[in-house]
């Protein structure tokens, strides 16, 4: 990973077999040595690496929009049970599941022949027989694979005249505080079961009973306990598992979807910010093989609320008569400049949640503008973490100990960690974006607060000590880059537009310069 320096986060590029344990039995030990074998899909011939499945080849070369699938998920072992992805392979007597069938040299595959389309229509009809078709009140509507595939492959009408299967006790069943199950909508793809078995390895979920009354249940009375429950609701193809925090908040088709980064820990999971009218409704992970795979943790998923916190300071605040009042950025900076020029010693503390660009800017420009020699150091503030060397993985998947996103990126600027986590100057300028901790202060030290602060955090200082608050932008509102725990630099762009009076660090510095 060390040779990877920089890349933009992108929409998911699906590269498969991420965690599959069902690789073909005889895989070629040295595929590069020989000319690559070829497979013909829908009339065109493609190279592939031995061991690729038909679906992988089709996906890589974008043979069609997508081969439909329910049970298949690239991050999990292959089950091959939904039978939606079947394709016709010449010389094979039956249709083959493209998710599990390895491509072979000279194989001729048809992904949309009449036989295949008829089979898919059949599967759709079967799946819809017992599905409640309650799309108008279902939270998944609009991003539901059953809807999408039915639109493309479904029979349109059905001769099913029987009573539908109803799980009366599991129509709205809380599997945990975070996830709700509606078993009636389930299409039994069992992605969720395989996820808890093979990805989180917590074995939280299990299917009980058999056949048509097979039902999803939590293995213990505690319900779901893993830290990645949100992922269940992402990949559930229907509205069977829904995320309580998002349930009934917004119809999915109203959502703007923009990529960004989660700044909840030093992993830097790639996310999609779903917002409407610049109000964020949820984060969902997007695929990045090098960083987070397909997943993200629940803590990160829920972290969007800290930016919509009503207590967040979103306008410049200036001290006047020992109280803070909102003001313009020019007035605030003019006032601060007087204090700073007169101070005997000043220390600038950059939180490790600053972007690389912000850290460079602050280190370079702030001393020049103030016109003094200023000690610049960085502060992490996560319990037990001072430098990136203290960081470690908390589980086998994604969670990291360091709860700030850019410790490595700030260290890169040549800053040194704040000694003992204590400020030793008359005035401290504390720059942080809500993730880094607040350093220890002495009773009479004055502070200038910069970045993202909530009213609660302001209360941790004696009110006479705060000279002013320069409101800053959150990760999803600004542009920049973070260097994560693995040394991967990830750029991001604004996912929503900030509607308050907060300004980016570059804007603040720009104004500040003009005041001199």
């Amino acid at each position: 990973m060390s040779n990877i320096t920089e890349f933009d986060i992108k929409k998911p590029k699906v590269d498969l077999n991420y965690a599959s344990d069902k690789k073909p039995v005889h895989s070629d030990p040295n595929p590069e040595a020989k000319p690559l074998p070829k497979v013909t899909i829908d009339g065109k011939t493609y190279d592939f690496k031995p061991g690729d499945t038909i679906m992988q080849v089709a996906e890589r070369y974008k043979v069609h929009e997508e081969i439909p699938r329910y049970c298949y998920h690239p991050g999990m072992p292959i089950a091959g049970t939904c039978r939606m992805c079947t394709v016709e392979v010449e010389k094979a007597p039956k249709l083959m599941t493209s998710c599990s069938t390895p491509a072979a040299d000279g194989m001729v595959v048809h992904t949309r022949s009449d036989k295949v389309m008829k089979s898919r229509t059949g599967v759709m009809e079967f799946l819809l027989t017992n599905h409640p078709l309650d799309c108008p009140v279902c939270d998944k509507a609009g991003e539901c694979e059953l809807q999408d595939y039915n639109y493309e492959y479904g029979p349109g009408t059905s001769n099913f005249k029987e009573e539908k299967r109803v799980f009366e006790h599991a129509t709205t069943k809380k599997l945990s505080d975070k996830v709700t199950l509606n078993m009636n909508r389930c299409v039994h793809c069992e992605r969720c079961v395989r996820f808890t078995d093979d990805v989180t390895k917590t074995n939280d979920l299990v299917m009980v009973n058999r056949g048509w009354h097979k039902e999803l249940e939590a293995t213990t009375e505690a319900g779901l306990t893993n830290e990645y429950q949100g992922c269940l609701t992402d990949f559930c193809p229907v509205g069977a598992l829904t995320w309580n925090d998002f349930r009934f908040k917004k119809r999915s088709w109203f959502l703007n979807r923009k990529p960004s980064l989660c700044d909840g820990c030093s992993k830097g999971c790639n996310i999609e910010v779903h917002s409407d009218s610049e109000i964020v409704y949820r984060y969902v992970p997007i695929y990045n093989e090098l960083v987070n795979g397909h997943w993200m943790c629940d803590a990160g998923r829920s972290s969007y609320t800290s930016y919509t916190n009503p207590l967040r300071v979103i306008a410049p605040l200036m001290k006047h008569n020992d109280a803070l009042h909102s003001t313009s950025i020019q007035t605030l900076l003019t006032d601060l400049q007087v204090h700073l020029k007169n101070a005997a010693s000043i220390q600038l503390v950059v939180g490790t949640d600053a972007t690389r660009e912000e850290a460079a800017l602050l280190k370079e420009k702030v001393p020049t503008i103030i016109g003094k020699n200023i000690a610049v150091s960085y502060f992490n503030g996560t319990n037990g973490v001072q430098t990136s060397a203290d960081d470690k993985k908390l589980d086998e998947l994604l969670k990291m100990k360091d709860l700030t996103p850019n410790t490595k990126g700030v260290e890169e600027q040549g800053l040194s960690p704040l000694a003992n986590g204590e400020v030793n100057a008359d005035i401290a300028i504390l720059f942080r974006n809500g993730r880094a901790g607040i350093p220890k202060m002495k009773a009479d030290q004055k502070v200038v607060l910069w970045g993202i602060w909530s009213q609660d955090e302001l209360k941790s200082f004696p009110s006479k000590n705060i000279l002013g608050v320069i409101a800053g932008l959150a990760t999803i509102e600004k542009e920049g880059s973070y260097k994560n725990a693995d040394g991967i630099v990830q750029k991001f762009h604004p996912a929503i537009t900030h509607k308050g009076g907060a300004l980016s660090a570059h804007q603040v510095v720009g104004v500040w310069k003009t005041l001199n």
Partner: protein, 446 residues
Amino acid sequence: MMYNNEHFEPVITKFVNEPGCETIDFYLAKENGYKALEKALKMKPAEVVEEVKKSNLRGRGGAGFPTGMKWSFMPANPVDANGNPKPKYLVCNADEGEPGTFKDRLIFTKTPHKMIEGMIIGGHAIGSNKGFIYIRGEWFKESRLMQKAIDDAYAKGFLGKNILGSGFDFDLVVYMGAGAYICGEETALLNSLEGKRGEPRLKPPFPAQVGAYGMPSCVNNVETFAAVPYILHQGWEKYAKMGTERSGGTRLIGVSGHVNKPAVYELPMNLTINEIIEIAGGVKGGKLKGVIPGGASAPMLTAAECDVKTDYDSLAKAGTMAGSGGLIVMNDTVNIVEATYTLLKFYEHESCGQCSQCREGSHWLARMFHRILNGGGNQEDLDYIAKICGNMAGQTICAFADAVTGPALSSVRKFRSEFEELILKGGLKGIGKEESISHRAVGAHV
């Protein structure tokens, strides 16, 4: 000789009517017990496999796959990723759950040592030192009898370390299933044996590569193993001659339903269904209406079609299958729709629920038949049954979906007039029969 087959002699059931036939002493004294094992242990494993191959023994579980060929698929010296040798397992499929099939139970209760001997020979042939006998959950008595027989074999030194001084070790373990028809499918059986849900696995890899506990495994039926000692002891020619060109030996046929003498019969394969019904004492209480020739999953045959021979290939030609050898005879008092519904209820209850088509389709078919029986059917339903079956058959991981469509499709095709009568007259009530029981009462847990 009898049955128009000069070569025929009972291979398995010769002594089953004699008292004490299940004991090891009887087996040793009267049936040349464990003589075949003695002979086999002096042969090389490959020679044993060759002998079985030449005997044309085909798997008696339902699919009729040649046993010798299955044994020869087992890797000779499997190693894991680190180069350490992997054990191989031999598994006996005693999950006899097919409605209408009850032949394996006869072997378990009357001549268990034949099967044990067959398994030890099989273990020697494929180079396995451990065998599992997977017994269906409902067979409490049979599993105790089998355990007793195994204990006796251990006591006499036919099982355990250094069998008969040959240096070959073989252990047998009895494992009880939890009661699921699908666990008779070999990969579902392996999952169940490992303590997982009894759901068939995706193939490849086949059990010969990745079987029980991830090790190369070979799964054979009870009757298949029980035939092995005879082949080794009497020689393959004798066994092969009894059968047809492509399938040697005898078959156990469990005849049930409307016959005067329902029982398990050991028969050569050149008999027609009509002849078998004759042997079983003829049709009881009326004229023959139809038969299910190979356990519930085999498509039905009408009375007119019963002049077909019961070997694998002739039955396949007739559009049905030899299956597990359960011949269900129905006389003209039977309502085919009702009989098929009974089978469909079974399949609806026993589908493992992995594959979409099978899970939803078996349920749909059963409910549709129920509706027709209760007077809610119409002509379109009959066409739709064919359509549903067409969407199910051959589309799933295992052959269960095909098994469901066997009775459903054949009943509509061959006895369509009975369906039409029910539809016109408003269900069973209309033809003066009692209304079918409520669908909800049928084994459903909801």
